[in-house]
Amino acid sequence: MSEKLYAWLLRLYPAHFREDYGEEALRLFRDRARDERGFFPRFRLWLDLFFDFTISLPREYFHVPAPRVAPLVPRRVYGFPTLFVLEDASPRPSALAIGGLLSLFTLTTCWASLYGVHGREIASASRFAGVPNDYQSSHSEPRSTAPSAAAPDASHATTRPGALDSPQRKRIVDSAIANLKEHYFDRDAAQKMADALAMHEKRGDYDTVADPAAFAALVTQHIREVSPDRHLSFDYFQEPLPPQPTEQAAQVSPQYREAMKQQNCTFEKVELLSHNIGYLKLNSFPDPEVCRVAAMAAMTYVNHADAVIFDLRDNRGGSPEMVQLFGAYLFDHPEYWYNPRENTTEQSWTRSPVPGSELADKPVFVLTSARTASGAEQFSYDLKMLKRATLVGETTAGAAHSGTFHRLDDHFGIGIPEVKAINPYSSDDWAEVGVEPDVKVSAPSALDVALKLARARTTKK
């Protein structure tokens, strides 16, 4: 009984003391209780314990235990990183609180900058087709038409929507309807989509959807129910959209020119590998107005190769003209070059043959990854459909973005195809589904696989 009481009282000591000596203290009590029987000795025992508590309790609470790992410190192995524990006392609660808050803040900031800004920027930038003749690549084209992080519009910063209210939803839906009717290439389908949206809006189907992303998904679903056009997109952007670009914005900006100059037009590698295999790592298809010469120089460099590998694993797209410019080198006659955003015109054929090009009959390999997007997918898709290249790697991102972007408000936009391009190969292109490679391997191993294939092909000849 008294031992239990003492064991309970021992809990008053701090944890470090109990861990180190709790057992011993209890044993000492047991020993004394065993040896000191009778009323007076037992009374003296408890009196001792009382004084013991009053003296040692405060002392233990002020005591910071010495590091138990101290003897480990000299044990150091040279050439290996070593860790020393300098402090093994528990941190103070205030330190923990400050540390916790700091970590939370850092995590939130990182998350926001990665997804809140960057992720949405990629989506919005690549969808933003203010200039009809231009794919917007997300990371290499700091153009003023795209809502880039570099040029945020401060006046929009305060208008971030949380939940949508009824008038807001109505305004957005009405604006989408007006844009569809005005711009969609198929008037009948546009009318059907408009009617469907108006009906859902009137019936109150959007009344319960306060979350903007869910709202965008529902509107998209309603549009698709009437028209299965995958190039039509209704999107929510967490970051405020810039004002609708003006005609001037279509000009190539000096910043873009400078960036391309510094990045060698995003042509990361132009090399001749062993077995005379040309290798071009193109990380975007930049505007020919700035990079035409660089592109021609790159193709000239590999002109006498026995096979060519285009590495588009980090290519997020760019200018369709540039895509076609590269394609032109690979044919000895003009080929129909499918572009989902363009009506068929005389521009839709490649300018083949390119004078002096030796590559028209050489094997071509295109390396793809799940990041390969937009214009890079067009290059892959068209060469695959024309049976002109072997695609090696992963299924591509599935970003066709053939619609022209229309801003509905600060956070909503609709991409509307204004033309119906003729796809000679199939009714569907790579929109949302991506381009399937001919040889499916993981992106990192794609180059090795393509090199083997290229060597096999060239030595056979």
Partner: protein, 116 residues
């Protein structure tokens, strides 16, 4: 790392050092030895005893031995402590300091009786 200072040496710590002169003891034996050498005047409670033992360990004045079978009470394993050379030196210095105090006290004749 703020260790508890043993300067001046607390009375309990000094008594423990003295108790360990000549033999290695476990906690309860130290407590009994201290009680014995002080005429039952100082009976160290568990809190004071182990808190002092830890300070002495941290300052390298005593050492903990690998736990041994307790010869007295069967199968229980106990932690035994031994005086280190630094502890012996400090105990001697403390004793000399007290002897000096005693010499002064004697000179001042504040002590009565013949036995001191």
């Amino acid at each position: 790392m703020p260790k508890r200072t043993l300067d001046p040496l607390p009375s309990a710590a000094f008594q423990i050092l003295l108790a360990l002169v000549g033999e290695d003891l476990h906690g309860y034996a130290i407590m009994r030895q201290v009680a014995e050498q002080t005429g039952n005047r100082i009976r160290l409670g568990p809190g004071t005893l182990y808190s002092s033992i830890r300070s002495l360990l941290e300052n390298g004045l005593i050492e903990e031995l690998d736990s041994q079978e307790d010869t007295g009470s069967g199968d229980e394993r106990r932690r035994y402590y031994r005086l280190s050379s630094a502890g012996r030196k400090l105990a001697r210095a403390e004793a000399q300091r007290l002897a000096e105090v005693l010499r002064v006290a004697r000179a001042k004749k504040i002590l009565r009786g013949r036995y001191v």
